[in-house]
């Protein structure tokens, strides 16, 4: 009703996207406008085929009920134009996992690593009984048992095309497996002198054949393996202590974090050390790249997921293009961001391609940080720590958002759902908790494990969560 509108205060607003570019020209809206109406207007301005769900922020506060309420605490000048930042949310929604569909037994020792393939079709788990097991997700039964390792399988990594699985063990050997048959591909990759801490494949958009694999080890070196020829291509030595994590970035850079308190940036082309990022006061335990999720899923688009996960089809060139597109979309205009968590209870946010100095130091945890992860849309950083809490930070600036408390003992691993709305965390108190990232609250509690939960993963198609732990069973 026009008469009602006239009584209400009106404001000039200007829509801006996250990078700061303005959309359309400023116009006038009543202060009582709600996010739905803002969404209609914004979608009309964006002129897209399908309406995209959006979230609106003014002065870093989200508009939940109406513009008036959000501005209640802030002094607003009606003469100036107010900037409203819009963020497109993922079109698809992932439903929260509510219950345990099955408990997969079969391992004879603790399950120490769990990973879904990039399309969500296969599930692999590595365990202390030296085997890697593949599980059939549709029937939830064991599919293959890959034997070959002689010691605990510490880390597993899927190639971005989902056709190979690399597993590293405590005897410093790396095996490659074919998930379709459960057999070993090629030769054993041996070369490290101490156990393997982390494995990372080369991103799909750089090389669609998924040929190169980087492995980090306790002996302080990083080896790049040529999986086709079955030999070591490059050895990157510079760290003086164990390398805890290695990540292959999408821009031709390799990042490695180590117990010697540094993070080193290498050029993946020739293995030359570019930069050393210093700042931490104790071991750097974990790292996460803003483009992690996209690099992991390669050419697979979670929005296109079907109930029965399928392998991504298409020629190598097609896959490469798709992967490149997705990567560019997530990355945007800015260089990749890297967040590192350490034993000194702090996290650092870096822009490793540009600067040696950190963007932000994120403090607040009261015990060592075990894992950090960017949300798939790179807006939120979640950090899991031994002080029983998970903290959420803003993905771009590193500002503290909130703490998620609920676990009664150390939180070991976390995993984001593909739409960045939900977060699952596994802890040593044998429970998993699903948190709603928007509400910043606990959504669902998943008890059921008999002992500590060592590994957690959310499938990229958003349908399932897998967790494995000390009680030798996978749920």
């Amino acid at each position: 009703n026009m008469s009602l509108d006239e009584d209400v205060q009106r404001l000039l607003i200007q829509f801006r996207d996250e990078a700061g570019e303005s959309l359309g020209s400023p116009f006038d809206v009543p202060v009582t406008i709600t996010p739905d109406k803002l969404q209609l207007v914004c979608n009309a301005l964006l002129q897209k085929d399908e309406p995209v769900p959006l979230a609106f922020f003014v002065h870093d506060a989200e508009i939940v009920a109406s513009l008036e309420k959000t501005l209640a605490g802030q002094s607003v000048e009606t003469e100036k134009v107010l900037d409203i930042i819009y963020q497109p949310q993922a079109v698809f929604r992932v439903r929260a996992v509510t219950r345990c569909t099955s408990s997969l037994e079969g391992h004879t020792e603790a399950v120490i690593s769990v990973a879904f393939s990039p399309t969500g079709k296969y599930l692999a788990s590595g365990s202390g009984d030296t085997t890697v097991r593949f599980w059939d997700l549709s029937t939830e039964t064991p599919q293959f048992t890959a034997k070959g390792h002689r010691h605990w399988v510490l880390s597993i990594a899927w190639s971005p095309d989902g056709k190979k699985l690399a597993s590293g063990c405590k005897n410093s050997q790396i095996f490659l497996w074919d998930p379709a048959t459960g057999n070993q591909i090629g030769r054993v990759l041996a070369g490290h002198s101490k156990w393997i801490t982390c494995l990372c494949w080369e991103p799909l958009h750089i090389n669609p054949e998924c040929r190169y694999l980087a492995s980090a080890s306790k002996d302080g070196s990083i080896r790049i393996w040529d999986t086709l020829m079955g030999r070591c291509d490059k050895i990157l030595t510079s760290h003086t202590q164990s390398v805890t994590c290695v990540k292959w970035g999408g821009d031709g850079l390799l990042y490695s974090s180590s117990q010697d308190r540094t993070i080193k940036v290498w050029r993946s082309q020739d293995g030359v050390l570019c930069r050393t990022l210093q700042g931490h006061a104790h071991w750097v335990n974990t790292m996460a790249l803003s483009t992690d999720y996209v690099l992991r899923t390669g050419a697979f688009e979670p929005a296109e997921a079907t109930i029965n996960p399928q392998d991504v089809s298409g020629s190598l060139a097609e896959l490469k293009d798709k992967a490149q597109q997705r990567y560019d979309q997530v990355r945007g205009q800015e260089p990749e961001r890297l967040v590192s968590g350490s034993d000194d209870f702090t996290l650092f946010l870096w822009r490793p391609a540009e600067d040696k100095k950190p963007l932000e130091r994120m403090t607040g945890h009261q015990a060592l940080i075990n894992q950090v992860l960017f949300s798939p849309d790179t807006r939120i950083i979640a950090s899991a720590s031994f002080d029983k809490s998970i903290k959420l930070w803003d993905g771009r600036t590193g500002k503290y958002l909130t703490s998620l408390r609920g676990h009664v003992s150390a939180v070991y691993q976390i995993a984001w759902s593909a739409d960045s709305r939900l977060l699952v965390s596994g802890s040593s108190d044998s429970t998993l908790k699903v948190w709603d990232a928007k509400m910043k609250k606990l959504a669902i509690d998943l008890p059921g494990h008999a002992d500590e939960v060592y590994a957690t993963d959310w499938s990229p198609d958003g349908q399932r969560v897998a967790s494995g732990g000390k009680d030798k069973c996978l749920r």
Binding site: E109, A110, I112, S113, S127, G128, D129, T130, R150, H151, W152, L154, S155, K170, W195, I196, T197, C198, K218, S242, T244, Q259, W283, N285, T286, N370, Q371, A410, Y412, S428, Y454, A455
Partner: protein
């Protein structure tokens, strides 16, 4: 210290010129002497000796066999150790250590409050007449101000007696101990560790200052042998242990480590 006069003499004057040669030859003769004695012995003495020797020989044979096994190359044991942990927990000493540290902190707090959570909580309190024996002195043996400790005690490295005329408490050399057999409750292994000091004797603070060790006494032992390390990376070299036997009856101190 009064019991190192031999070493002291050796340090001051050295050895006899033919000492080493004579010792070598004596050791060479030992096997022959032994067999001569074994052949000649008769009676109960012989029975006891032969029994003991038999046990010794069994042990010797075992060690020889072990040495032989060591020389031959065997395939490494296929069994992988239990207790698999994920990579991020590998370099850490596990949650039990955290518990150890938190327990240590709790222990410190309880200590301040005067409370202890120990394996042997209640012990029979030992009265003065039991622990200290009255020593009569003086020309007519009428003076009775000296006391002798009848239980095992620990005196420490730099201990020197007070002049005997003024010494009120006598701690006999025969009852002084430097080492204790300490059992680790979780590992179930026993180590012979040197004692660093007596922390608390439950019967009386007087005994604590004297260093009297009875059942239930909390002593501090040197655990650098065990190679324990704190989460911060520092080596732990002293820990508390509680005595579990009556050392004056057994001739040795058995204790349980307080973790």
């Amino acid at each position: 210290p009064q019991n190192e006069y031999i070493e002291l003499h050796r340090k001051r004057y050295g050895y006899r010129l033919d000492y080493h040669e004579r010792r070598r030859k004596k050791e060479g003769r030992e096997a022959h002497e032994r067999s001569r004695k074994a052949k000649k012995m008769i009676g109960l003495k012989a029975k006891l000796y032969h029994k003991q020797r038999h046990a010794e020989k069994i042990q010797m044979k075992k060690t020889i066999k072990m040495h032989e096994k060591r020389n031959t190359k065997k395939k490494n044991d296929e069994k992988t150790p239990k207790g698999a942990v994920p990579a991020y927990l590998l370099d850490r000493e596990g949650q039990s250590r955290a518990k150890v540290l938190s327990n240590m902190i709790k222990q410190k707090r309880k200590e301040k409050a005067g409370k202890w959570e120990v394996p042997v909580p209640k012990v029979r309190a030992q009265g003065e007449t039991e622990v200290l024996k009255v020593i009569r002195t003086g020309k007519r043996k009428k003076k009775a101000w000296k006391r002798m400790v009848t239980k095992v005690c620990f005196v420490g490295d730099g201990f020197t007696r007070k002049p005997p005329k003024y010494e009120r408490f006598i701690r006999p050399m025969g009852l002084r101990f430097k080492k204790a057999h300490v059992t680790h409750p979780e590992l179930k292994a026993t180590f012979c560790l040197p004692i660093l000091g007596v922390k608390k004797n439950p019967s009386s603070p007087l005994y604590t200052t004297l260093g009297v060790i009875t059942k239930g006494t909390v002593i501090e032992v040197n655990v650098s042998e065990l190679g324990l390390v704190t989460q911060g990376g520092k080596v732990i070299w002293g820990k508390y242990a509680q005595v579990t036997n009556n050392p004056e009856n057994d001739g040795c101190i058995n204790a349980v480590l307080l973790v």
